[in-house]
Symmetry: C2
Subunit: 564 residues, 2 copies
């Protein structure tokens, strides 16, 4: 729904009159003050920005028309009561609102809303405090705007890394809350961020404020001040120590969902393990993937592999060292021979395994000796320590930081594999097994080649499964390139569903398609999700369409992504 | 509501006419066959039975009048469609139904329903198959009736304990599903049963059947048979490997809740660690609790203490060796001197710490040396291996089994501390810290003494908190003893709330009181729980009142537990 009036938004919220929108904006401006309401006007030029300065009203790695996933306005509340009041306002005016913490969710839609014309709520701009770092309990309590970089610096400045470590994803600029509620991953032993969260404060769609777990029990010994607002009350001393509380354990319904806005969250920190060593193992042949996986599974389940290790395809590493042009003048997918050549040139394997051992030296030595012995049974496999790699931009050096929770943006470089580099993540879950990994690799690679794109990917090894992250890099200024990437991911979703594989997370444009693959027993899970959604958000104002869940007022089909 | 007609139930479901009940029973009998409907008739004599033969229609450790928490009938479905159909019948007749898996939930209400006259659904009688044990993925898929004993025997018979270990609670007769959905605990590194579950199949209050996580994605590669019922379809190959799936992660709302009936659940098994050693450390003085806790916290967080260890009060051990009478003729709480004497006689400490190390010998040695060195800094502390203890019924010998997942019923003995022994668990959560543990111990002990009861308790050490389990033993044939126990737990709940402590789980009779302590921001969490409850179960038929959550048709106050 395009707005007509000059001075109005580029896109109005669905079904919203200009008067209603203006009256909403006036109320919002009064609430959060003018500076914190940003209207995306009709003639506004959508500037993507970059990772460090991401745009906040559209998808900066747009895979469909850049003008599609665009907000009507961005509002930045300054505290929890303003978030609550905004939710009440949105209900009153029946305006959809899309909350985000930082907006660096690239590859999955950035800060953009699923429904064009939604109001985006930028939680991180003002609500960005580290509320607590408790060394004894090894946890932090943070607001949405706290990035991995922020918490890292907080620890560094106070010399707390001697005591506790943070877990970080590949890039440090994301929100700790934003990443955890999307169930993102990092690479230390605390890599499952959702598993490691503990206790939340959440604004519900109707503006109510809850604390989960032990947070629901007020602690009279920490504060008796009756003048404190609920959100200002110090939490129960066990809020960040014990997740489940009493009664239904609700936390999970606030992940990948449209049921609440997380305004505080506890995250467990890892006690400094008293020693650390990162390493890389290079595997020469493409088919070594098979043997590697069957080695990894038992070691990981036994916790000999203590962290979330990754097995990276040569091109993911190569792309960090340079763009496609620097290796080849071809604009076709690189051939096996070319990949072998690149591996040789970089002195890397066709697959490269990055892990680390944690603990005092005698423990590390025992673990490392088992790890080496196991992997070096693969002919031609080589073991490397960071000091063995002298090249600039060494991925092992970066991983050595990441795997001890030191954030960076080094890995951003692979996004520039193609000119005007943008990316889309395809992230199916798979068993840790040679057969499964080989099959999933061949199925996905085949389609990449069909789309004329290089396969770039990594297997991220969780407790008993892997997140296979296929990085679809495209040229965002090239219509054809975007079309291919979009075709590719739609086709991969379908192919994988036929193999029984499903994705753990996705871009706005693919949410409906993926949700439909989780259709056991006539979509029984979706019906449950919709029933809960309608009960908590009867007007359907909070993030309609997120992860394929549409409130009762919305016609799913009408909101299908326009195919180009 | 007492029934009048002979041949009718002792207690009718609330608001239910005898005709309606009869017509429900007829339909139920037709569905599951006569043998699987058991009516608790007006003149039925309520027999408690014992742990091995628990009663299925009332609380066998009744803390209020034995005639209060009593079902109208027990129905035992034979398969998932019958569970679904029973839910539809209950909706049709508006009859409350209370599901249980085994009914050995002693100390928390056994198999009894919260609302007298509910129909109990005995899931475990027929639905008791181990559906899968997958060694490669280290998991099992079980039905509600599978007990820890059952799965253990399954592993033993197939020589699978060489590969994978089970985690068990103190007693092996409980349901793996029943225990996990109540968020019960065991004592290996996999002791948090809820954390270690993976993937569920759940019947919703309206009879719909869902699979959670990856289970929601049908796997065409494992079966294409169109004639299989949904519940018979082989699950997605990642169902038991990855919990979260796509979209809201709903599993938690089916724990300690009345939102669904879990008919299948995956549970992770621990890969055989390749070596094991249990040990005990005895601490001579009551106040050693303080030092011990401050030693335990960092060791546990560093995973030097790999499992869920326990620090047990002398009387918990003493009660396993003999009843109160065998130590003293006093009917008052035992004095410090008497406790010292018992400790001396048993060659135990006033507190006794039970742990284990896992892994190959060099790893175990490193860990044990750190553990010993830390604890033996407490004057008089002594370190014991199982072979050091030659007495019969040695608790260390039992723990040595429990801590490697070998189930038993040895610990049942402490329930007989008093004649006609019955028990009630008071289970607050606390920080792992000397100050907190001492304070909670003194607050709870003081009230035990006031009630004329002995303090019997254990600190169960989780990841960053402790479940402090206070075992309130009473004489179930002595009205005064029951009254005291009931007074004690009500008082403890209140005292602890004033210290900011809350319980993790509770008996039917205390659910409302505890739920009310989790009242942050004007009971915001309860309002959320009620909203979800009403949305999924508009007629309020599934387990009304469970964990303090009452459907909209119920007047909470009217269902308050009668005080004696
Ligand atoms: C090179 C590269 C490497 C990457 N590596 C990783 C990796 O290792 N691991 C990984 O997980 N990701 C990775 N990503 C993806 C992404 O950068 C991170 O996941 C990032 O943390 C997400 O962005 P954000 O934190 O700014 O989230 P936001 O954009 O703030 O939030 C993302 C979404 O979460 C929801 N949300 C956010 N905050 C809230 C809230 N407070 N309440 C309710 N809902 C909320 C909203 O739906 C929002 O759209 C990578 C990306 C790139 C480009
Ligand atoms: C001496 C002693 C020691 C104990 N030690 C421990 C211990 O170490 N750890 C521990 O956790 N407990 C312990 N307990 C308590 C108890 O014995 C166990 O928790 C036991 O597993 C619970 O009984 P059950 O498995 O038969 O559960 P059930 O009685 O089958 O279920 C308990 C409740 O869970 C819910 N429920 C059960 N099945 C389902 C289902 N399929 N779908 C939905 N809801 C369901 C119902 O509300 C039901 O009332 C101990 C008890 C005693 C007496």
């Amino acid at each position: 729904q395009r707005a007509s009036a000059k001075g109005g938004p580029k896109i109005l919220p669905p079904g919203c009159s200009e008067e209603n929108f203006t009256s909403f904006l006036d109320a919002a401006r009064k609430l959060v003050e003018d500076d914190n309401v940003f209207l995306i006007e009709l003639d506004h030029n959508l500037i993507d920005g970059d990772y460090m300065q991401p745009c906040k009203g559209h998808d900066m790695h747009a895979i469909v028309d850049r003008e599609y996933f665009v907000a009507s306005a961005t509002v930045s509340p300054r505290d929890v009561p303003e978030v609550q009041e905004l939710m009440r306002l949105c209900n009153k005016h029946e305006i959809p609102v899309w909350p985000f913490s930082i907006g660096r969710n690239t590859g999955y839609g950035g800060a953009a809303p699923r429904v064009p014309g939604s109001v985006c709520m930028d939680l991180g701009k003002h609500m960005n405090k580290v509320l607590d770092v408790n060394v004894e309990g090894a946890y932090a309590l943070v607001e949405p705007g706290v990035t991995f970089f922020d918490l890292h610096e907080y620890l560094e400045e106070r010399n707390l890394r001697e005591k506790v470590w943070l877990d970080v994803p590949d890039l440090g600029g994301g929100s700790i809350i934003g990443n955890a509620v999307e169930r993102g991953v990092g690479y230390t032993p605390y890599g499952d961020h959702w598993m490691m969260h503990c206790g939340m404060e959440v604004v519900l769609p109707n503006g109510d404020l809850i604390r989960t777990g032990m947070g629901a029990l007020p602690d009279p010994t920490v504060s008796k001040d009756p003048n404190l607002r609920p959100d200002q009350q110090p939490g129960n001393r066990c809020w960040q120590l014990f997740n489940y509380g009493f009664g239904p354990y609700n936390d999970g319904i606030f992940t990948q969902s449209s049921l609440g806005i997380v305004v505080k969250m506890g995250i467990w920190l890892m006690p400094n393990p008293g020693g650390y060593q990162a390493y890389m193992i290079t595997l020469p042949r493409d088919e070594d993937l098979h043997a590697a996986m069957d080695i990894i599974r038992p070691l990981r389940m036994q916790m000999v592999l203590q962290n979330v290790p990754t097995l990276r395809h040569i091109l993911l590493d190569a792309a960090v060292y340079g763009n496609k042009k620097s290796y080849s003048s071809s604009d076709k997918p690189l051939t096996d021979e070319e990949l072998d050549e690149i591996a040789k040139k970089l002195d890397l394997g066709r697959w490269n395994f990055y892990g680390a051992v944690y603990g005092p030296e005698p423990i590390r030595n025992v673990l490392l000796s088992v790890i080496k012995q196991s992997f070096l049974s693969i002919p031609g496999a080589r073991f490397w320590l960071p000091e063995d790699r002298k090249e600039p931009n060494s991925v092992l050096h970066t991983r050595s930081n990441t795997l001890q929770g030191i954030p960076s943006v080094d890995e951003l470089k692979w996004v520039d594999w193609l000119p005007n580099g943008a990316h889309l993540f395809f992230s199916p879950i798979t068993k840790i097994s040679g057969d499964d990994a080989m099959l999933q690799y061949s199925v996905t690679k085949k389609r990449c080649v069909e789309a004329g794109l290089d396969f770039i990917g990594t297997f991220v090894v969780g407790m008993r499964e892997m997140h296979h992250i296929v990085c679809i890099v495209f040229n965002r200024e090239d219509h054809e390139s975007k079309k291919k990437a979009h075709w590719l991911i739609r086709t991969l979703i379908q192919d994988c569903a036929e193999h029984g594989w499903g994705e753990y997370r996705t871009h706005l444009a693919l949410m409906d398609q993926i949700a439909k693959t989780y259709n056991f027993n006539d979509n029984a899970q979706m019906k449950l999700n919709e029933r809960i959604k309608d009960a908590l958000d009867p007007k359907g104002v909070l993030a309609p369409g997120k992860n394929g869940i549409w409130p009762k007022g919305y016609d799913k089909e009408a909101w299908a992504i326009p195919s180009e």
